[in-house]
Symmetry: C2
Subunit: 141 residues, 2 copies
DNA sequence: CGGCATCCTACAAGATACTG
DNA sequence: CAGTATCTTGTAGGATGCCG
């Protein structure tokens, strides 16, 4: 019986990997803004502060849980500011911080490339036998 | 008893949501480049064509499966071109297509923001009680 | 050398119900 | 209205073994 189990070796390798790779700032940023609702919410907030329920209605499909979870994550990362106004019922507003606003151009760059070239990707995919999803609507958020 | 159950209404809402949301080009692009190895591989290929094993060695932590899977996905989407040279052993090269190259500036924008502001995110996270991962190494890819 | 198939695990995302 | 807690599940990612 070896001194280390397979699981232990895996865990160690994972640690080494994390140290070398997770530091990569791009990767970490990707993991943030790649979360399903992040980009959507940040662009919604670009127009100004919004209330919880307001955001929820403006983003079809988001669950109450994911909305709170995502917003709290963004708040924790300093991209969004959460302000509570006591009362019954309580009122909660979310707004972009300057840091969050500084991220908007990056999201815009992504959006711009997507608007210009996503059709090319669909075409390439179709050429490979996939039925592509005919994505032509420009919900450029 | 209503004609539609709650589950049915949810399923319908989901369908509507998918149609309205999955089309969003930004979201779809995010899902592509947000894949764990995509950005890393594309930037590695920015320098020129690379062999499979070459790429594998240059990206610590990537498994053979994920390397092939990711590259094939990129090939399917027209971002990468795969060329096989018969022989024993076979030789496989991967190179960016023009479409793939056009994506590099976007990745660069993400990387640039990350390099400039990821420390701010870490600071914000630390201020919220999280022990942050002290990401200071600049593996800017 | 490159690639495929199989099995497995971890985690993001969602459904649901309850609190204040 | 806003949020929390719990349970379930789809799927990305990874480990391993075999093939041309």
């Amino acid at each position: 019986m070896p001194t280390r189990t397979a699981a232990q070796r895996r865990a160690e390798a994972r640690t080494v990997f994390d140290a070398a790779f997770a530091d990569c700032p791009s990767r970490r940023l990707m993991e943030r803004i790649g979360e399903k609702w992040v980009a959507l919410l940040l662009t919604r907030l670009a127009d100004g502060p919004r209330r919880h329920g307001d955001l929820r209605r403006s983003v079809p499909g988001v669950s109450q849980k994911m909305l709170t979870q995502t917003l709290r994550g963004l708040e924790r990362d300093g991209l969004v500011r959460r302000s509570v106004t006591a009362g019954v019922p309580a009122r909660v507003d979310y707004a972009l911080t300057p840091l969050g606003e500084s991220l908007l151009p990056v999201l815009a760059a992504v959006s711009a490339w997507a608007d210009r070239h996503m059709a090319d990707i669909d075409a390439a995919r179709a050429a490979h036998g996939e039925p592509a999803r005919s994505g032509s609507a420009g919900a450029g958020g």
